[in-house]
Every structure is written in structure tokens, then in C-alpha cells.
């Protein structure tokens, strides 16, 4: 009897090991453990055993049952795992195929440059001013110390418009300085980006419409050292922490002293390259201490207050920053261009 039980166990485990699916496992369970199964058959014959043998065989039979059941469970788990593995394998996809969420839109490179500059100055306590593009000669010229017959009026190739009096398209964002000073008491810290207009024919480097950004700081005790400090910080923010700046004396009618600021070339770091035309420097902006006449014309006492102003062309910054070779691309709105930014 003992041998028979051992045989059943070996046979069952053997067959279970060979089973390849859940259905076979079930058949084997019935074959060995079912009501008509082999083990049950043995147990039914227990009645014929002696009193001494019965508990021994009984215990052995239970052990055999437990072994078979254990094996059965183990095989179930293994087969389930195998089945899942097969299923996952069947579900394999080509992950190198492209994703298909809708594409995002792209911010215009000019806007990116302007946003970048806005953020730098907001961090330094500046607000953003706005003003009209159709202006009067007073705000565009007179109030900026550019009287009638001043050669600067010719240099700027002004577009005039149909009006009674001198209405024109602003040639610079500087009139916003005047508007801010007229409407706001110091301390003033503003930047003012916007479109400006000059009679330049359209080509790769010229456009009759382009963008400038103006800045103005008015407070008590503002010095040229402060101008240098603020603009050096700005250059670092725009071109990177290692950027150096230099200030060259220049002339603007509405600032005195005036300067142009160069930044060390962001492309070569100042060694000289194609971007900076081998000079190591890139001309970034014009600036200066606000001319006392301009302050007075705006109703600000130049004996109490001083300040600095700066202005820059933004197209050039965008073109240098993104290596854009043709200005016309900025107004064409070809999506193949816009998607690159």
C-alpha cells in the first residue's frame, strides 16, 4: 500500500510537471484527487487495513494529497505567469513609431526675446509701459530734445501720416519715456517694448517695421555708475553670466552723457567670430543719462532727480541669438520657420 501511494505521488508529480496548460492541470486534479480519482480509490480501501496500519497509511495518504495539491498550485501559478508573458509578448508594439498627441504651437522668436528681456527687468523692479505707434512730432522729437531742423530728424527717415499738425509713425520707442514721465511721479523704473517705423526698403537686414525696447529709470541720486550696473546685469541675463560689457561714448539728443553698450560676443566669448565680425563685441544698445532738458520738459525737476534711459533694436538680438540670416522671415509666418523656436 505504501508503495502504491508513493507510485501515485510520483506519477502525479510527473504528469503535473509535463502539463502545459490550465485545462490539463484540471484533468489531472480530477484524475488523482477527484471523487473517482486514484488517491480516493486508495483511501476507500483503507477499511481493509489493520488498526495499527491505518493511521500510518492515513497519514501517508494525506501527505501524498498535500504534495499533489502543492504541486498543482505551483504549476497553476507558473502556467498563469507563462500565459501572461505570452500575452504581453503578443502585445508588443513598435515604440519607435511617433507619438500622436497634438503638437503645441510655437512662440514667435521676437516674442521670446521680448519675454526674456521683460523677465530680466521685472526681476530688477521694472514695470512694462505701453504707448501709441501713431505719435505726434512733439513726443517723437521735440520733447526728446530733437527740435525742428535737427539732422537727427532726417537720419531717422520718418513716415508722416494724414493729419492736421505733425502726426507720424514713431521712429523710436523713446516717446514712451516722455509719456511715462508726464504721467508718473518718480521713482520710475520702466521698460517699453514696441513696434517702430522707419522708411527703409525691405531686404535681408532692413524692414520699415521693427521692434525696439526702451528703458527708463528716474529717481533721486541716479548715477552713470547705476546705468552701467543695471545694463551689465541685463546683458548677463540675456547672454549669460559670463558676459562682459563695455560702454563707448556716443551721442543721442535726449541723453547726456550718452553711450553705446557692447556685450562680449555670446557665440565666441570675445575671441572673435562670424557673429561679432571678428571684433569680439556685439553692439547691444544705446543709453545715457536723461538730458536735463528732457526732464524739465516732462515736468521733472532736474536739480532733484536724475535718471538713465536706454533703447535697443530687438530684431538684431533675435537674429544673432537664433542665427537667423534674413529679417523677412520674421514677418512671413511660415510654420516651418516658426516651429523651430
Amino acid at each position: 500500500m505504501k508503495e502504491k501511494l508513493a507510485q501515485i505521488r510520483d506519477k502525479a508529480i510527473q504528469k503535473l510537471n509535463d502539463a502545459s496548460d490550465l485545462k490539463t492541470l484540471e484533468e489531472l486534479r480530477v484524475e488523482f484527487l477527484g471523487k473517482k480519482g486514484e488517491l480516493t480509490g486508495i483511501l476507500k480501501g483503507m477499511g481493509a487495513l489493520s488498526k495499527e496500519e491505518r493511521p500510518v497509511i492515513g497519514q501517508l495518504a494525506n501527505e501524498v494529497r498535500a504534495d499533489i495539491e502543492g504541486k498543482l498550485e505551483a504549476m497553476k501559478t507558473a502556467l498563469a505567469a507563462k500565459a501572461q508573458e505570452a500575452k504581453l509578448k503578443a502585445e508588443t508594439i513598435d515604440v519607435t513609431m511617433p507619438g500622436n498627441m497634438p503638437e503645441l504651437g510655437h512662440r514667435h522668436p521676437m516674442t521670446q526675446v521680448i519675454d526674456n528681456i521683460k523677465n530680466i527687468f521685472i526681476g530688477m523692479g521694472y514695470e512694462i509701459a505701453e504707448g501709441p505707434e501713431v505719435e505726434t512730432a512733439y513726443y517723437n522729437f521735440e520733447a526728446l530734445n530733437i527740435p525742428k531742423d535737427h539732422p537727427a530728424r532726417d537720419e531717422q527717415d520718418t513716415f508722416y501720416v494724414n493729419g492736421i499738425g505733425d502726426f507720424l509713425l514713431r521712429t523710436q520707442t523713446s516717446p514712451m519715456q516722455v509719456r511715462v514721465m508726464e504721467n508718473k511721479k518718480p521713482p520710475i523704473r520702466i521698460i517699453a517694448p514696441g513696434r517702430v517705423y522707419r522708411a527703409d526698403e525691405v531686404d535681408a537686414t532692413h524692414s520699415p517695421i521693427f521692434h525696439q525696447l526702451e528703458g527708463l529709470v528716474i529717481d533721486k541720486g541716479i548715477t552713470m555708475g547705476d546705468l552701467k550696473g543695471a545694463l551689465a546685469e541685463f546683458a548677463k541675463g540675456l547672454f549669460g553670466e559670463d558676459t562682459k560689457v563695455r560702454f563707448r561714448p556716443h551721442h543721442f539728443p535726449f541723453t547726456e552723457p550718452s553711450a553705446e553698450m557692447d556685450a562680449s560676443c555670446f557665440a565666441c566669448g570675445g575671441k572673435g567670430c562670424r557673429v561679432c565680425k571678428d571684433s569680439g563685441w556685439i553692439e547691444v544698445l544705446g543709453c545715457g543719462m536723461v538730458h536735463p532738458k528732457v526732464l524739465e520738459m516732462c515736468g521733472i525737476d532736474s536739480k532733484v532727480y536724475s535718471g538713465f534711459a536706454f533703447g535697443m533694436g530687438l530684431e538684431r538680438v533675435a537674429m544673432q541669438k537664433y542665427a537667423i540670416s534674413d529679417l523677412r522671415l520674421l514677418f512671413e509666418n511660415d510654420t516651418r520657420f516658426l516651429k523651430q523656436f
Partner: protein, 799 residues
Amino acid sequence: MDLPMKWLSEYVDLDTTTQDFIDKITLSGSKVESVTSLAKDITNVVTGKVLEIEKHPDADKLVVTKVDVGSGEPLQIVTGAPNLYVGAIVPVALVGATVYHGNGLEKIKKGKLRGIESNGMMCSIEELGFTVNDYPEAPDYGIYIFKDEVPLGADVKKLLEMEDDVVEFEITSNRPDCFSIIGLAREAAATYRKPFKYPEIKVEEKGDENTADMIDVEIQNPELCPRYIARAVKNVKIGPSPLWLRHRLTASGVRPINNIVDITNYVMLEMGQPMHAFDIDTIDEHKIIVRNAKEGEKITTLDGQERNLDSSMLVISDCNKAVAIAGVMGGENSMITEGARAILFESANFNGPSVRITAKKVGLRTDASAKYEKGLDPNLPLDAVNRAVQLVEMLGCGEVCKGMVDCYPNKRESWSVEYSTDSINALLGTELSEQEMIELFKLVEVEADGKTAKIPTFRPDLVSEADLAEEIARFYGYDNIETTLAAGTPTVGKKSHSQIVEDKVIDTMLSLGISEAKCFSFESPKVFDKLNIPADSPLRNTVTISNPLGEDFSIMRTVTLNGMLNSLSTNYNRRNESAYLFEIGKVYIPKTIPLTELPDEIRMVTIGMYGNIDFYGIKGVTEELFTVLGIRDKVEYTPKSDIPFMHPGRLADISLDGESIGYVGEVHPSIAAAYNIGTKAYIAVINFEKLAEYATFEREYKALPKYPATTRDIALLVKENVIVKDIEDIIRAKGGKLLESIQLFDVFRGKQIPEGYKSVAYNISFRAEDRTLTDDEVSSPVKKILAELEDKLDAQLRG
């Protein structure tokens, strides 16, 4: 303004390299545009003596020469030059040399000409990069031959003084004095703290007559002509100028012509004072009158062109006729010709703006007018005229008469500017002492004593303390001013509400896959016809540019459509499958025409799309935008058909709190065709100013529901012309306070639906905050809804 470095060295001894000069002068405020090294590209050209000339055996026009270049064995060179002779000393480009040949620079190689070896090339003056104007002794055609005995094998560039660096400056309008070699030399001397050597001007006056006996001068308009000096020279011998003078002119970009013209040009370059020379006998009654031109007066200028004058222009005339346009150009009638008995040098001062406007009106901007228009120092003409006659004596080309006629009704005196050391320091952020500032002022010939600065008359830009501060800063060094961060009153950097709204609009568009466009703000008035805008539309009242670049750029836009449609067209015609674009840009709406006040500048959000998109797609874009801006509930879309460039059946008006703020729809197919867009295009235009006014970013949390919603699906049979907005208005009106939401989920036409009808299906959801609704509670509002729909819209519930 071109500055030849060799010329500069006459007035200041810099003892430095051109590069160092450029770097330093840039930082003291003279902006360098470029540097040109003359004769830089010419290499390895030496003097050689022709020893033998023999006929080429196989070519009639060639000769075979032996040339001694001072290095032992003579070179064999084959040439076709016609003017060679034995003993001639010529420039020889050795093998490996570069010279100008044919179309550009060429490297000389060892070669054979018709089978005979040739080891170099003899050069014409053109092959060395110059012209007969620069070296009048050179033949018009043929090899340059040295007049004098010169060493053999010597560097020809040095021998002919060809090398020089020419630095080009951008001179700003406040510094008319720097439009001269002298002015730049003064800046250079100050920059390097070196002595400035003003030229010594001396005249011998060997002529036997007095200028005053030869000419009278009368200034009728001293406003436009503050000073007029005339000086006579007799027995003029016209001929070429000497090499040094021609070189200086050429290096400065001025073509040498003859000694008298060259002298006037030389003085203009050197001193910055334009000069003119007349033939004294062409001046009727020997009287110069400086007056305004007569209306309709004409003059033929030196370039042979007849010019029409008007009474705003100043002319130089005699008793009968104009002989020059003041400060612009002389007349042909008073031109100096060979054999002139005596000439008259004019050295005058004219009003800058007047010269500028005259030059512009007659369409003739000359070197002289360019100088005058900056506003020159009326004290300059005296030295200039003496410098000119000094050169006449130096060149031996005439006898300078005694004295001059100097009419100076409007004298410019030196002026004083009050300043304080402290306030200049305060403006600059420096701590210079009174004495340090006085020393810095001396560099620019300003005499100061700590309180008052005496300004030389050639510096009209120095009129206020701020101007003096700039002089201090320039020569103290902008780079030496210590960098500080403004202390002062702190301010908070921030964006305004409308700027935040603008950012939100951009962010929303980008997140919906729409890229940002930028369009021109001016366009052609033809746009209105192209967009089919009626002739009497107020949109045709525009801000119009009086001096446009052309009709295409002549009006400020009143609609944004043209720019957007052009952009879509560009994309379509470049075969981009789709284009989704938006622009935030202004329209310019005049309040009156012509303008008497500034026009309204209104920012518009313009969205343009073609590709995988339809009306509901672009409408969805606007809905998302209104949701982000917190105004979705206030916006209504209603059918509209009266915009001429939009599809009349696919256009919705967008209103905000009952006010129309824009529209969304499909572009009219004939307009799309006019823009060469071969597919359906969709546009939405929304007034940004209104968005900014209404947008809110305030949000309040509403508790999430605890009890389930009860929903009813209803399918309605309605006539085709019933719009869902009408159905939804009724559902909302009759739904009662438990109505939570309505969702259109199907619109169906076809089988089972009679012709002219459609089936519209809604999911209507009811919910209470505090309980689950019973069927009865929902049935009642649904019944009311259906009754009203039937009553108002003849809508039938489908079974």
C-alpha cells in the same frame, strides 16, 4: 569720415599700432566703422632694371627681357608692354608675388609664354591697385617707369608710398568739428594725452595787388551766411599736384583732379571747412552778393545739370547772375579754366539746416553740403582760407594777393558754461577732484576753473553741465566709472492686468497647437477691394502715410484679415499641410480724417487656420480661450452673415455680455481664392482690449457632488433651420434649479427622418446637493422642457 593714419601722424605723434589706436579712440567716443589697409594685398613687388630686350621668336607682340632685380642673376621675363626700353627701372612682381591682374588679385607663377620661360611680371600702376590719377607720371597704357634712379630690388610699395591704414569713422551729428583730420587728431591727442600739433599757417603774399581792390562782398542774409571770406590768387598755373598731396586725397577717398581743386579738397578734409574757387573775371563788376535765390531762378552747376532754385535757397551771385548754390556746388559759369587771370577762394560759413534743405530740394548732396549741414564754426574759414593760399605758395601754383575780404556780420564768440565739480561727480558716480576735472577739460581745449568752463567755438555741443560731464566721462574713461546697482526707492516689478491677459492668450493658443505670427501694420488700400469691403464702409477711413515706401505700405490697417490671409497663403503655397496661426496685433482707427488727435489703436487677436480643421475646431479654440480667461459663461455665439469676406452660412458673431467683440467662421471661398488658398480657411477675430477688460483669474471652488446625477436622454425631431442655441436656451430656461448640465450628443439626418428635418439628441443631467433625486423630481422639469420646445420650436420627442 576717412582718416589716413599717415596724415594723422602730422598732427599728433601717437607711436602706436593702428589696432591700438582703433581700440582707444573707440572708447573715448569716436566710433570706428572699418579699417582699410591700402596696398595690403600687393606683395613681393620690387624695382628692377631692364638690361636686354629681344624679340620673341614665335610672337610678334611679345618681347623677351632680362631684368636686374638686385639679386645676382637677372630674371628672364616675357612681356607685351609697349613702353619698355633698356635701362628703364620698373616694378617687377617676382614669382610668388600677388598683384591685381584681370578681374582681381592674382599670384604670379613661373610660366612659359609661347614656349619661352618667364619668371615674373612687370607691372602697370593699375596692377598695383592705383590709377593714373594717383600717379600722373604713369603712362595711360604700359608699365610704370620710375622717373628717378632708384635702388634695385627695393620694395615698390614703400618706394611709391602706397601703404597706409585708413580708418573710417562714424561721426555723430553733435560733433561737426570731427568731420576733419584736425578734429580727429585733436581727439586722438586727448585720448593718448599727447601734444596736438595744429598746423603752422603762414602766408607770404607775393602778389602785387590787394584782394580788397579786386573784389567786393555783400551779405544780404547774415542769418543764413554768418561769414564770407574771399581771397584772390593771381597768375595761377594749373597742373597736377605733388604725390604727397594726391596720396592724402586718394587715401581719404577723394579723386585728385588738379592743383587748385585738390587744394580746396585738401583743406576741406584737413580743416573741415569746404572751399570753393571762382574765376574772378566771371564775377560781373567783381562783386559777390550772398542772397536768397529768386523764385524760378536757374543755375547750371559744375556737373553740367540745370538746377531750379526757389527763394528759400541761398546763392552766391554777382550783380547779374547766380554763380554758386551756397554750400552745395559752384556754377558752371564761374568755373576756373586754363589761363584764368586770377582766382578767388571762397571760405564761408552757411547755416547748416538751410544747406541741408537746399541740397535735398535740388537733389544734390555734395561733400561740401554734407559738412555744412552739421553746422560749422564761423571762426574756421579764416584759418582755412589762409591754409589754402599757403598751399598755393607751397605748390608754386600762383601768387597770393595781399589781404582778404572778410565779411563777418554774425560773429561767434566763445561762451561760458557754469558747472560744479560735485554735481558732475554726482551724475557720473565718480569722485574726481576739482583739479582732476580741470586737467581733463584741458585735453579738449576747454579752460575751466572749477566753476566756469570756457568753451572753444568749434564745440557747439558743449552748452550745459551735462555736456561737460560727458567730456569728463569720456577722458576719465567710461570703463573707469565704477559699476553700481541703483539704490534709491525700491519699486516692484510687475505686469499689468492686460499684460497678464496677453500672456494667457498666447499660452492658450500655443497649448492648442497654434503658433504665433507677426504681420505688418501697414498695407495697401487695395486690400479693401480684395476683401470685398463696401466702398462706403468706415473701415476704409484710414491713417494714411503721406510718404510711403509704395502703395503696398501706405495705409495703417483697420482690419487684420489681410496679414493673416497672406500668411496662410504663404504656407499653403509652400505646400505646408496645415497652418494654425494667431496674431495679437493692432488696428488703427482714426477718430477724424485728417487726424486731429491720435487714432484708436486697438489690439486684435486674429486666429487663422487651414488643414485638419473645421468651423467647430476653430470655434472650440475660442471657447477654450474664453474658459481660460474666466468669461466662457458670458460669451454667446449667434449666426451672422454680413461680413463680406466670410462665408455667410458659416459665421458666428461672438458677444460678451451682449456686446459684439468679434467673430469666428469660414473665409468666403472667393476671398480664399483671391489669396490663392486652395482649401477651406477659418478665421476668428476677437477684440483683445475687451478680453483684457473682462478677463478674470478669480476662481471659487465648488464642492464636488456627494449624490449621483439623474440623467435623461432626449432626441428631438426639429426643422432643419432650428439652431441648437434656441433649443438650449429653452432647456436652460425650463430646466429648473436642479438642472446641472446639458450635452448635445448627436445630430442626425437620413433614414426615418423626414426631408427638411433633423434629429437632435441631448443628455440632460439633474442633481441635488443633498440627496439622490427621485424620478418624479426629474420628470416634471423634463415635461416642461418638452412642452416649451414643442410650443416654441415645433420640436417633437422621438420615440
